[in-house]
Amino acid sequence: MKKTGNPYLLTGGILSALLTAVIITGFFWTPYSTTAMNAKEKLQPPSAAHWFGTDNFGRDVFSRVMQGAGTSFLIAALVVVIGCSAGILIGSVCGYFGGTADLILTRICDTITAFPAILLALVIVSITGSSVSNIVLALGILFIPSFARVVRTQYAGIRNLNYIKAARLQGVRTPRILYTHILPNTLSVLVPAMTIGFNNAVLAEAGMSFLGIGIQPPEASLGTMLRDSQNYLATAPWYALGAGFSIVLLILSFSLMSEGVQNLDAQN
């Protein structure tokens, strides 16, 4: 791995590492309780005691951001895992075998993509009820087509290359060709797709929670915090800034990293 000439990977990597560290800490420990209310300290501006200030219930915004970012992070990660693994499965079969099944599956994916993902997720979650698992499942399924399409294109190209023909002649079994021979060659496209998917999932979850059909109070997520803070935008802007800034930082760091990985690939 070359370090020189890849500032994206460096900044992205450092930022994501820091954020991940903060988020993981947030699972076990936060400076203040995330639910304890304190009427005396409500809507305090940022200070040494409360880095991001306090909200309308006197809760520490930084502690809630730590926890909320953790929730968002977990949801986004699970969404990517579901979307990506199902996408790899569908995309690889479509791309490698082609034919009528490919035609039908591709059309289904196109149909799903034609609807705005958040809108569909909102519908699904409002029908099934808003729990973390429902949000993850709904977003995960809606994210499948984007991965399937990327993977399909890769497989459709690679299946015709000589090293795959050679593997077939050597009698390598098809599942092994699909996932041991071809899959590692799609990573340069798959890794950026995963980081982009992660970012979209963070945004989608935040958007859903902002609209009130995501994570339910008193549990914190960056989206719910943004929604709660809009009434205090004029009097306590730090409340909204704490949550908004965290979303921006989370997405920025992963985008930078994805850019860095792509540059790394271009160098090779």
């Binding site: 090293y163 023909k165 050597q170 390598v172």
Partner: protein
Amino acid sequence: MTGNNRSTAGDIILEVRHLNSYYENSPDAGSHESMFYTHREQILHDVSFEIRKGDVLGLVGESGSGKTTLAKVLLGIARDYNGEVIHHTSFPQMVFQDPFSSLNPARSVGWILEEPLRALAKRSREEWIPRTKAQRRELVRETLHAVGLEDEYLDRKPRELSGGQRQRISIASCVITRPRLIIADEPVSALDVTIQAQILELLKQLKERYSLSYLFISHDLNVIYHICSRVMVMRSGSIVEYGDTKTVYRHPKHPYTQSLLRDAM
């Protein structure tokens, strides 16, 4: 695979009788058109020949004459044919023209050479096939030496190798499963002239060492002359001339062969 695997006492390893092959000329799979109409075109016309043990049979012809299609039929890749293709020994392996796409870029040379052995161990019970990782590594090393490369190449990725080195690895990955027949489709035409000579020499050495036969496809008559014992000239899917290399080169019967030879001189 519709070819039979009959064992005979003779030393014929591949028989082809009255082979006609067809190609479904369909637009790209996945487009709307592919579902509704295709155009079936005959590529090979009544092709008959045989390959004996130790033969190097050259297949000459211009591009589009059906050389690669014939290879595909023999390898079971193209299935739309009639006539007989009889493999009397184990299935042939193939060396491809383009050494830059014939090795998996994500894997090391060692892995690439081990893979055919892993696949073979799953479907065959023959005695010599290595069953453990250590045995496989040993055979890989031995084969790597046989194609003129040292141990240090085991951990390299294909992108770190030159065209000639890649072609050596391709050849190694063919001979490592001990086939009787190797089909080489323009194996040297993507290489520099000096490297070409080295690879041809290597193919000759390996032929003796592993008692191989080759079907050697080329459009280069000089290369064919250098390595082939017999030669077959193909034009528009038909064989127009078939015989000993020396006889064909000295006394070409068909006007097409005569013009090919004239152009090559």
